[in-house]
Amino acid sequence: SAVISQKPSRDICQRGTSLTIQCQVDSQVTMMFWYRQQPGQSLTLIATANQGSEATYESGFVIDKFPISRPNLTFSTLTVSNMSPEDSSIYLCSGASGTRGFFGPGTRLTVL
């Protein structure tokens, strides 16, 4: 299966700032997704990253807070905007292409 890398692996940010997380897949995938894992909780789907068009967001997540880009079939970015301590989480990129759900290593974000 494909391998996903994410950058940065972790970051500590000040409230009110924004962070962009990059996701790179080593082969073309049909679907890409972004998930969030808050401390002590399970994974929650944020959005589907659509190639060449606007992302599709799940209930409770909005584009202004989590803008997503996907310029091609192997790359996507997630921006966490105007951060607050409640945004402290692990953010995971996922890809799917015929076979199911392989995940990146995650980006651990701490907001002070």
Binding site: T30, F33, L43, L45, G101, F103
Partner: protein
């Protein structure tokens, strides 16, 4: 709405003992069910999915539509099975996943 329930946060067994990690789901259509595993300091990875009807690392899981369950079983636990296990559901060929809250399996020597 879709939901996945894993009632146990922690399951502790001794090496060689049988293991059953419970998973129940709610979805009115025909879901796809998966088990994902996360070993310490490793990324989340797919363990098995119900449509494959396979056994991976000695683990099996059978989809019971009557009981809406997809329990993960292994007859003889090994220490290297210690990890976090997540049950997940996908629907309508979307590739999107709804995860349960996870069960941490500890296998003692």
């Amino acid at each position: 709405a879709q939901r996945v329930t894993q009632p146990e946060k922690l399951l502790s067994v001794f090496k060689g003992a049988p293991v059953e990690l419970k998973c129940n789901y709610s979805y009115s259509g025909s879901p796809e069910l998966f088990w994902y595993v996360q070993y310490s300091r490793q990324r989340l990875q797919l363990l098995l999915r119900h449509i494959s009807r396979e056994s991976i690392k000695g683990f099996t899981a059978d989809l019971n539509k009557g009981e809406t369950s997809f329990h993960l079983k292994k007859p003889f636990a090994q220490e290297e099975d210690s990890a976090m296990y997540y049950c997940a559901l996908s629907w309508d060929n979307t590739d999107k996943l709804i995860f349960g809250t996870g069960t941490r399996l500890q296998v003692f020597p």
